[in-house]
């Protein structure tokens, strides 16, 4: 069964450093998403992406965050200058049709900012 894959599974970084989290969405999907889950809390929407541009973003997704689809398969989330409070699980998701279509999630990247 096709799945969303994310790398790395765990990223440790120093405060102030830049990190790039990588995702390979399901191959025929056109809509891509990033979510964040602080330990033990609910999953929070960060950003959605379609046709090489951001379609929607939350208040969490401020200027230190950016997303990119550098090629035909990868979808990345960059955090420019990490803060302690950025420590969380980051989930990538994709869907074929957007809107009400099912979003399929990857296993996540645990980001630990020291």
């Amino acid at each position: 069964e096709p799945e969303v894959t994310q790398t790395p599974s765990h990223q440790v970084t120093q405060m102030g450093q830049e990190v790039i989290l990588r995702c390979v969405p399901i191959s025929n999907h056109l809509y891509f998403y990033w979510y964040r889950q602080i330990l033990g809390q609910k999953v929070e929407f960060l950003v959605s992406f379609y046709n090489n541009e951001i379609s929607e973003k939350s208040e969490i997704f401020d200027d230190q965050f950016s997303v990119e689809r550098p090629d035909g398969s990868n979808f990345t989330l960059k955090i420019r200058s990490t803060k302690l409070e950025d420590s969380a699980m980051y989930f990538c998701a994709s869907s074929a049709l957007g809107g009400r279509d099912i979003q399929y999630f990857g296993a996540g990247t645990r980001l630990s900012v020291l």
Partner: protein, 111 residues
């Protein structure tokens, strides 16, 4: 405010019993609802969805009920198995709003 994970609502059921997990949503404009299952160390996994023009939908061993009057959603799992142990999230979606997840319920199945 946000609940801390250690205080997630918890439901413990005996293996073979039926489970009912409840969720209240807040946005009356939401018209699409989804239940996700999250096992430890994994991402949310789609279980079942329902649109607002329905009040019940059944899948394999799972049923979702939607009561729009009181903005309440429930997930029923028949003959609960140890593999059903996980955190269950409801999520809501409006026409022009992103997916919003609820706080989650931890289901523990006692063998």
């Amino acid at each position: 405010g946000e609940s801390v994970g250690l205080h997630l609502p918890t439901l413990s059921v005996q293996e073979g019993d039926n489970s009912i997990i409840n969720c209240a949503y807040s946005n009356s404009a939401s018209d699409y609802f989804i239940w996700y299952k999250q096992e430890s160390g994994k991402g949310p996994q789609f279980i079942i969805d329902i649109r607002s023009n329905m009040d019940k939908r059944q899948g394999q061993r799972v049923t979702v009920l939607l009561n729009k009057t009181v903005k309440h959603l429930s997930l029923q799992i028949a003959a609960t198995q140890p593999g059903d142990s996980a955190v269950y999230f409801c999520a809501e979606n409006g026409r022009n709003t992103p997916l919003v997840f609820g706080k989650g319920t931890r289901l523990s199945v006692i063998a």
